[in-house]
Amino acid sequence: MITFLQLVINGLALGAAYALVALGFVFIVNATGAVNFAHGDLVMAGGYAAVGLGSLAQIPAVYFLPLVAVIMFVLGVALALLAYFPLINRPPSTVFISTLLCGIILQNAFVVLFGPQAHAAPPLLKSGVAHFGEIEISVQAIGTMVVAAILIASQYLLFTRTQIGRRLRATAEDRQMAQAVGIPAFALIAATFGLGTALAGIAGALLANQFFVYPTGGIPLSVYAYIAVVIGGWGSIAGAVIGAMIISLFQVVVSAYVSYAAATGLLYVTLLLIFVVRPQGIFGERVQRRA
């Protein structure tokens, strides 16, 4: 029983990091409708930023996490200018491809700047584990869960309770009409890419302590983010979090009882089942259009 509980907690800790990854992805989906397939590589970029800053100053990551967010915000705006705005009137699949290409450019930039080998970033506060009875949790995992919880709650409140959040949603639903009620849609979209990328960067900085960063490390993360959002319900924040948790539970808990390969296979079988049984995802998309 203790083993099972320990596994579940490890799964939740990894899930919290995946949730942060999915959160930035869903942020951009919610505000622009664009699927950003450079997202996993941006997570890696955040990890590399943490590695770089950590090697310059030997301090815990919590002190330079805001700086990582700022750097990544700028990178996100650059991504919007390069891969989104020029294609804004094209079909969504075009943006899918252009962000995929930006991701590949990032992967190669990582090789040039940091080499092909793996790096680790400093921990958020300190390394080591905390004990709760017979269960132990790494301090980094606790920190990741706390940061994830704060950012998930903030994003939820931003989208539902603030004027800027409502305007972001309006812009995502009908950009032209948003402008026609006075909303500066292009500025909001650029800011959205910045914020979504900052979230990706924070996720990367947190993951880069336990799980290393390497040039192609972002590819599975893009896929996980996409899967989490599909499982949970397109555009749903709660859905993305649940989706991320499901992925990590398969990778940590299920893989402890069968093999990792079998667990991964089962995850994709589950995904297919969700596609068939509940194509709108667990939390469904609540918007329909009237004919």
Binding site: A170, E173, A178, Q179, G182
Partner: protein, 235 residues
């Protein structure tokens, strides 16, 4: 006349086909002006050019004595234009209240005040505040689109076919609201296929036919014009 909106020789092309040719019209302060014409005559094209969805090939577009052709859509709106588009285009995933709130650029108290005023103008919306845009009936969506267009307290309200898809009774209710809007200080430019109803609630009118303005005058004069009677009123 103090011209709020002055359009001079506006030409709009869709590729090789013109949608508007040398359209010249004006709307003054305190006026309700109708734009009448059949489907495809260019009414929506004119509105889309005014708000900046479409880029005219030539001609002048002045609002409040200012050339607005170089301004982005949101800048034109913030100058004092309200736009209720054809097909309503309410934000489907936002609640009724949120649909109104996003269009207010003022502090929180003022936002609440304006939303309340929209609810008093359209009491039907007040009972459905938390419903999502897509869940409303067509008539309610139309009221929401008009209410949303009024949120910025515009000097000019553009109403594109507000009666489309509504029952005759509901259409009458919506059109009857126009006089009240004008009285509150907002000029109205109304595109409408139902000519009788449009002339009944507006001061002046322009008649569009295949992209050209073919007739203009006061509503009373146009009602008695043979061409209008023959073409639109079935007389």
């Amino acid at each position: 006349m103090s011209g709020l909106l002055e359009i001079d020789k506006l030409c709009v092309w869709y590729g090789p086909v013109f949608a508007l040719k040398d359209a010249t019209l004006s709307v003054g302060s305190g006026e309700a002006v109708a734009l009448i014409g059949a489907n495809g005559a260019g009414k929506s094209t004119l509105f889309k050019s005014i708000v900046g969805f479409l880029r005219p090939k030539s001609g002048a577009l002045r609002f409040l004595d200012r050339d607005v052709t170089g301004l982005r859509t949101e800048q034109r709106i913030r100058l004092g234009v309200g736009y209720s588009p054809e097909g309503r285009r309410v934000f489907p995933g936002l609640t009724v209240r949120e649909n109104l709130e996003v269009a207010v650029f003022a502090g929180k108290a003022e936002r609440a005040r304006r939303v309340d005023r929209a609810f008093s103008l359209f009491p039907q919306l007040a009972t459905r505040q938390e419903a999502l845009g897509w869940q409303l009936s067509g008539g309610q969506q139309q009221m929401l689109a008009i209410g949303r267009a009024l949120m910025g307290q515009p000097r000019l309200l553009l109403l594109d076919e507000p009666s489309l898809g509504l029952s005759p009774k509901l259409a009458d209710e919506v059109l009857a609201g126009i006089r009240g809007i004008v009285k509150d200080g907002t000029s109205v430019l109304l595109a409408e296929q139902n000519v009788g109803k449009a002339l009944a609630c507006c001061d002046r009118a322009y008649v569009l036919e295949v992209g050209k303005i073919v007739l203009a005058g006061t509503a009373a004069a146009l009602r008695d014009t043979e061409e209008v009677k023959r073409a639109f009123l079935g007389g």
